[in-house]
């Protein structure tokens, strides 16, 4: 194996000390240029205030003081907490169940399911929301048409009570397969005692999967929960794109990110919008940190 390492080409030898910096350089360059610098820029924006009349002036942390007591912002956070409590358990437990089933080989046509479940991830959110929007159509959507055909009341997916579920369904559709693939890969990575496995019938294979394999991918589950928390609190595209269909229940501050968007692009309050974004970032950090603490305690 090591034979190929003896260099056939003479080159500049980079030592162990400098190597990590050289390797990190390209990423850090783009990271700083296109993430850190814009962030600093945004932070600077958040300390100023630009008015149509009177121009720009420095206001310190005024925008943050305002954000902390802005009900439009906090109502969006509260909505997402409720949203996350519905959406995340469903999505992640479905993903986990499918991954366990596929991994334990308890079904036919594994490859088909694997690829088909993952497909929605490849559909842009713009298109996914468009599709579901049509399917939800309260009068002429296919679901309503089927209900009418069966003489059932037509479901209203855009009512105040249903809208969170309707949006949750879109995100479940989009991301269950993605999470499933991550779990599946983690499960597959666990070395299996084939001899032991070969002796098992269906029931004990499943028991084996739950008792033995599941605990081993807990770190991966924690990672996906973290990413889901972050993704949930930043929810924007789906409600934004479905607004036209559900105008009476989705307002311009439906989620914090939606609020930041309308503040910046419709109300021309770039400065306040930037402050809202940073407060949202802080909220995300708090939730993530709280979850990390909780999961660490649970692990002990």
């Amino acid at each position: 194996m090591t034979r190929s390492l003896a260099g056939h080409r003479p080159r500049v030898i980079i030592g162990k000390k400098i190597a990590p910096y050289v390797l990190l350089l390209p990423f850090v360059l783009v990271f700083v240029a296109f993430l850190i610098v814009p962030m600093i820029y945004a932070f600077n924006l958040s300390l100023h205030k630009t008015a149509l009349v009177g121009g720009t002036r420095f206001v310190g942390f005024d925008n943050y003081a305002r954000a902390f007591v802005d009900p439009n912002f906090w109502s969006g956070v509260w909505l997402l907490v409720r949203f996350g409590l519905i959406q995340m358990p469903i999505m992640l437990s479905l993903a986990l169940a499918f991954a366990l089933i596929l991994d334990s080989g308890l079904v036919y046509a594994r490859g088909l399911f694997r690829i088909a479940f993952f497909l929605p991830y490849a559909v842009p959110a713009v298109i996914a929301t468009l599709m579901w929007g049509y399917l939800y159509g309260p009068a002429y959507g296919p679901i309503a048409q089927i209900a009418a055909f069966l003489s059932l009341p037509k479901p209203d997916f855009f009512s105040e009570n249903a809208i969170l579920g309707s949006i949750a369904n879109i995100t479940i559709w989009e991301y269950t397969g993605y999470n499933m693939i991550i779990y599946f890969a983690a499960l597959q990575a666990i070395p299996t005692d084939l001899e032991e496995a070969s002796k098992m019938d269906g029931a004990s294979a499943f028991t084996y999967a739950v008792r033995v394999k599941l605990p081993m991918i807990v770190p991966m589950i924690i990672v996906t929960i973290m990413f889901s928390i972050i993704g949930t609190l930043q929810l924007f595209s789906e409600p934004y794109l479905i607004t036209n269909l559900a105008r009476s229940v989705i307002n311009s501050h439906f989620t914090p990110n939606y609020y930041a968007y309308t503040l910046a692009f419709t109300a021309q309050q770039y400065n306040y919008s930037a402050a809202i974004s940073f407060v949202l970032g802080a909220v995300v950090a708090v939730f993530s940190y709280a979850f990390m603490l909780a999961s660490n305690r649970g692990a002990r």
Binding site: A139, V249, I250, N251, S252, F265, T266, A267, Q268
Partner: protein, 441 residues
């Protein structure tokens, strides 16, 4: 945005440019004359135009044929919000603006507030505005300055589904009182069928309130009067609230496929709308083809003759354009050239703003199959003469629209009434205006 090489700045080049600009001005004066001098490619003036309307490039091509020294590129960067967001971003950045863009009438004050619109008057012949319908010119001009040239308008009328009304013995309403009465009658006679849908649509809301006499904004420099929740608005809100409470109108969002389908199959039997709506309806509707008719907008006073306008656009140039003369000339061509104006009306179905076309009996008398052979433009043309020119939009109309959407939505969802919504909108807009540095009166 010109292709002229900046390093070749010599005396002769300056002369040639002046000559070109002179010829452009001549072209404006002689409208269809096509007085243009042959020019070498590198001397071409390049104009970038942002417009979302279909077939705009065709008339731009015609313009280039008549003005070989100008190169016009039409870009569609979106319609409605995306278009304006892009323009505002470019204004903030100070670069990337087109030379000319389409702007709806209700957005003119917003862009003027950003000092982004160029004054076109120095390059327009005297009396240029006389050819336009009064209110359209009033909307673009401010004493001597001109911030855009009107292109098309949206005079309003009542479109109705004749079959549905006949079937249930509903009379075409002449007044809003009739309208309410017939709406209740229809809802009773045919449950699930509505005379109208009250969707949350700020553009429509402003337009029908315009007819009622609502004048929410008076801007004078940095001073602004805000009267959003005046008596007119409250009456109007109570009127619709009563219909909503009686379930005599539906309250689904507008502009969705569902909503188009409901108009098509007679679930919604009428739509108070603008002259540009028929073209959308023709594309979306099959079942109701030939069954639609147009009638004048319902009146608040019996025998009244007041209409309104919804939408409509102007061509504006931006202060950043290095080719203001050419931009003005191009806007003038698109707006007022007889050949172009006819094309917009007959081919693209944009309703005209030129008195000459509105008065043209042949053009306005065209019979449409979609309307069972009714010459509907006659109705719209009459409406156009009944639009009161004194309506002003806010210099931050997008924010106002956002508030209308949010608070109407709440009322429709049953949290408070429409009248309450107007109070909340007033409060929010007053606070916003103060925050933006205006002196609110």
């Amino acid at each position: 945005m010109t292709n002229q090489k900046s390093n070749g700045a010599g005396f002769s080049r300056m002369n040639r440019r002046q000559l070109l600009q002179g010829s452009a001005a001549l072209g404006a004066a002689a409208a269809a004359g096509g007085v243009a001098l042959p020019a070498r490619a590198e001397d071409k003036v390049k104009l970038t135009v942002w417009a979302w309307t279909p077939r705009t490039q065709e008339m731009a091509d015609l313009y280039m044929k008549k003005n070989p020294n100008v190169d016009v590129v039409v870009e569609n960067v979106g319609q409605g919000a995306p278009h304006y967001v892009k323009l505002r971003n470019a204004i903030t950045a100070g670069t990337g603006l087109p030379d000319v863009a389409l702007i709806e009438f209700n957005s003119i004050p917003s862009f003027r507030a950003l000092n982004a619109l160029a004054d076109l008057s120095p390059n327009l012949p005297a009396g240029f505005g006389d050819q336009y319908m009064d209110w359209t010119w009033a909307a673009v001009s401010d004493g001597s300055k001109v911030f855009g040239l009107p292109w098309n308008s949206g005079p309003m009328a009542l479109l109705y589904h004749a079959d549905v009304l006949d079937r249930h013995g509903i009379a075409v309403p002449e007044t809003w009182d009739d309208f309410a009465e017939q709406a209740k009658k229809l809802a009773k006679a045919a449950p699930g069928t509505y005379l109208a849908n009250f969707g949350v649509d700020p553009g429509w809301t402003a337009a029908v309130l315009w007819q009622a006499g609502w004048r929410p904004f008076r801007t004078n420099g940095t001073e602004i009067e805000i009267r959003i929740n005046d008596d007119i608005a409250k009456n109007w809100a109570n009127y619709w609230q009563a219909l909503i409470d009686a379930k005599a109108v539906d309250t689904k969002p507008a502009w969705t496929t569902e909503w188009f389908a409901a108009l098509d199959d007679g679930t919604y039997a009428s739509w108070v709308t603008a002259a540009w709506a028929p073209i959308l309806m023709e594309q979306a509707m099959k079942k109701s083809f030939g069954k639609w008719r147009a009638a004048p907008m319902p009146q608040w006073q019996k025998g009244g003759k007041v209409a309104s306008n919804w939408g409509g656009t102007v061509f504006s140039a931006f202060t950043t354009t290095p080719n203001l003369k050419a931009a003005t000339d191009f806007a003038a061509f698109m707006s007022a050239d007889p050949q172009a104006a006819r094309f917009w009306l007959t081919e693209v179905f944009l309703f005209p703003v030129l008195t000459e076309l509105v008065d043209d009996k042949v053009l306005m008398g065209h019979k449409y199959d979609f309307y069972g052979g009714q010459p509907v433009n006659e109705v719209f043309a009459e409406a156009l003469t009944q639009v009161d020119p004194s309506f002003e939009f806010a210099p931050f109309q997008d924010y106002v629209n956002l508030q209308i959407e949010d608070h109407f939505a709440q009322a429709i969802a049953g949290r408070g009434t429409l009248a309450d919504a107007f109070d909340r909108i007033q409060d929010a807009v007053v606070a916003y205006a103060g925050d933006q540095g205006y002196t609110v009166k």
